[in-house]
Amino acid sequence: MTAKPLADYPLELSGPDAPMVRFRNVTKRYGDLTVLDSLNLDVAEGEMVTIIGPSGSGKTTVLRMLMTLEPIDGGVIYVDGRPLTHMPGQGGLIRADARHLRRERANIGMCFQHFNLFPHMTALENCMEGPVQVLGLSKQDARERGEELLEMVGMADKRDEHPARLSGGQQQRVAIARALAMRPKVMLFDEVTSALDPEVTGEVTSVIRNLVGAHNLTMLMVTHQMGFARDISDRVCFFYDGRIEEQGTPDELFDNPQQERTQQFLSAVNEAF
């Protein structure tokens, strides 16, 4: 189905108030199932936004589409003022081709629930892979950058270990260093503690905590860790059925939820503690 070019979307977002990330009327379908329904969401530069909600609410899909892991079915996603999922053409916006995606994708980095480290490379090599292959850094520069980042996440002494010899928490920290090595403007965290034993989630959350506010990094996080989300987020969005049911500052949302569904979700989560 070749769509005609989108004419009523701007070719770029300009001005001092332009958001770093903008979802405009974004829709995503899997067959008959509509996972995201005309979503509108803005994230300002340097903002830390957490997305919470029941499974199937579309929260992970938001991150995956931003990382271009899934194609979009409707609407446009903008990153850093420029369209990500589309590109200028034919007088409006048309679907982005592979080249455009590769160019714009460079601004975004992601950490996954199951780490996804490359098992045949050491921790340091994992961190060097992107900078050398994609950014064109020399091996020396990439190594320095990698070691610096591993130091920052507390994994410097394990730089020559393969992932198979690292614990879950250690692997996730290396994964964060690997993503940061690409110097993205936007960092995505997809349930990065869900696969970890409860005792070790702290090592990962403290790393993320240290990132907030550093270098103007814009962050989007999907998590079930309510306490952590409350601590570090600038804004929390509650997703239900593919739409933002409610959003606000952590205090607003957690202490004073307005919508019934939000209240139900939060009380169910609290019972789990």
Binding site: R105, F112, H120, T122, Q133
Partner: protein, 223 residues
């Protein structure tokens, strides 16, 4: 009761060994063709072009379900019917190469599918190109899964080379047949052929198993 004649055996040995080299060459070349072609078949089935994947799948199933010796005849005799004369060697290489390409493509497909989906996603998140993703991330992880199958088919293609004798390729079986017909003695040539096959295929199979273990360890994946 016919007795084994050692003097005869020794006299035919040089010719048999020379033919063995031919056999190894045939197996090697055929396998090389199959490795490359098989990869093309496997990657071709991963494209979104529906007609292509359909044709490839049916073709591969067809080749795997029909006898190799018949395929060899087909390739060799069909050419002249339409004006193209193929030498026995060329026809043999095409037929055996295609046949084993079909088998290897299944091995490759299984190996590629065995790499967790998350690896592809991590590569995308680091903005690696398709070539980098395949070359540096996916294929190194797929390789150990493929080695066992690839090794089996290497031994298999070697054992299938006698089929080339039916279109006149001067490999081991063909030569033994010729020696037998010339001298009216089949016992020694045919038995030697059997022994030579055993001597080559058994250690090779064992080596393949060792190589697989070594490769796994080297790639740091201690499973």
């Amino acid at each position: 009761m016919i007795g084994w004649r050692w003097d005869f055996t020794l006299s035919i040995l040089p010719r048999l060994l020379e033919a063995t080299l031919n056999t190894l060459l045939a197996a090697g070349m055929g396998y090389a063709i199959a490795m490359v072609l098989g990869l093309i078949f496997a990657l071709g089935q991963r494209t979104p072009i529906k007609p292509l994947t359909f044709i490839l799948r049916e073709f591969i199933e067809f080749i795997r379900s029909t006898p190799l010796v018949l395929q060899i005849f087909f390739v060799f005799y069909v050419g002249p019917q339409f004006g193209i004369r193929l030498s026995p060697w060329t026809a043999g290489m095409i037929a055996i190469g295609l046949h084993y390409a079909a088998y290897l493509s299944e091995v490759y497909r299984g190996a590629l599918n065995a790499v967790p989906r998350g690896q592809w996603e991590a590569a995308t998140s680091l903005n690696l190109s398709m070539r980098q993703t395949y070359g540096r991330i996916i294929i190194p992880q797929a390789l150990p899964h493929a080695i066992a199958g690839m090794g089996n088919y290497l031994v298999g293609i070697f054992k299938d080379t006698p089929m080339l004798s039916v279109i006149g390729v001067a490999e081991l079986m063909h030569t033994a047949n010729a020696i037998g017909a010339e001298n009216y003695r089949f016992l020694e040539p045919f038995t030697m052929v059997g022994i030579i096959f055993l001597v080559i295929s058994l250690p090779t199979a064992a080596l393949v198993r060792l190589f697989e273990t070594w490769l796994r360890r080297k790639l740091g994946m201690i499973r």
